[in-house]
Subunit: 173 residues, 2 copies
DNA sequence: GAGTTTACCGCACGATCGTACGGTATAATA
DNA sequence: TATTATACCGTACGATCGTGCGGTAAACTC
């Protein structure tokens, strides 16, 4: 398995060459472990996707760079199981609890980042002002996620080209 | 749990008010059950999404109707766990075997349907000919899937409006 | 150096799940 | 009617998983 549900204390212990009970006592519960894994994945995502473009000019330029680093992150398969947030969303969207709440909060934060950037591009005139930032953010996220699991399913890197063209189209419409 | 992995023989037996062993002997193995569930979900999807628009004019008209019935299908939450194919894709994209193959085949068939319709719209002049059908099909699918799990995660029906606007934008670019 | 914290281990329990096998009615068939 | 197939049941086994508890050795603190 993959994703947060496929994360097992025993499996993690084996990878760390420790005993199950050690790993368990280190986190206290599986749920804590899952939350920690989610935070770790988010930190890594930020490091690999956002940081490389943080120095670019806010607005359309950084947005375009972000799309590229985003797709590259997925294409390199940095972590198995594809887009962690998408996997987690699909897995927990119908299971209320702290995990679902944390995932939803992460998604909201990420949407906030995207929308903020889109608004910057709009106010500097690089994007038409009749576009709703939330629409574009939703669209970009949908494309990145679909590219991630579409690639893992088809093994065809062409999906990243498709996603890239669609993103470009969304950002100059 | 949800999706194909969350499908358990015991759980199904409870729903059917039967015994585990009965359900098991009815399918022979869990994998056969999962394949049957996949086929059932595809049949239902076809019934609820494709059939209602089958009589429309091939091309853009049917494409637009398809997007609406597609989103409506997800919004009504016809089956728990959101878009079955997307859930299954995310769940099995890294687990080689008959399940993954069947899921990939279903996706391919669905993409084929979409592309065929897009080509009809292009050749009748309702869509610009510089658009690649595979790109548009990918985009529509990404939007529908994202709307499905986005809604289950946020409980905000606005995502369907967003997805609808993005789909419309993709189809008249 | 005594006491306490930290990191890890070993073992065991209960729950869940897929799977297997033998049994028993009822229905179909010849 | 005799035979066979079908549908379902009861029970059991082995594997996996989360969890709890007592123990031990090293590290740290006073």
């Amino acid at each position: 398995m993959e994703g947060l549900g496929g994360l097992t204390i025993g499996g993690l212990a084996a990878e760390a060459e420790m005993r199950k009970s050690s790993v368990f006592s280190l986190f206290g519960s599986k749920q804590e472990l899952q939350l920690a894994a989610l935070n770790g994945a988010i930190a890594q995502f930020t490091e690999e996707v956002w940081v490389p473009v943080a120095d670019l000019e806010p607005g359309l330029e950084r947005l375009l760079g972000l799309c590229d680093s985003w797709l590259s992150y997925h294409q390199r398969g940095v972590l198995p199981g594809g887009c962690f947030l998408t996997t987690a969303s699909v897995e927990f969207d119908a299971r209320p609890g702290p995990l679902r709440d944390a995932i939803a909060a992460c998604m909201d934060r990420w949407y906030g980042v995207l929308e903020h950037e889109i608004e910057a591009a709009t106010s500097s005139g690089d994007l038409p002002s009749d576009l709703r930032p939330a629409d574009i953010a939703f669209e970009l996220n949908a494309l990145a996620a679909a590219a991630s699991y579409g690639f893992k399913l088809s093994d065809d890197p062409e999906v990243f080209e498709r996603a890239r063209r669609s993103m470009r189209r969304a950002l100059r419409a």
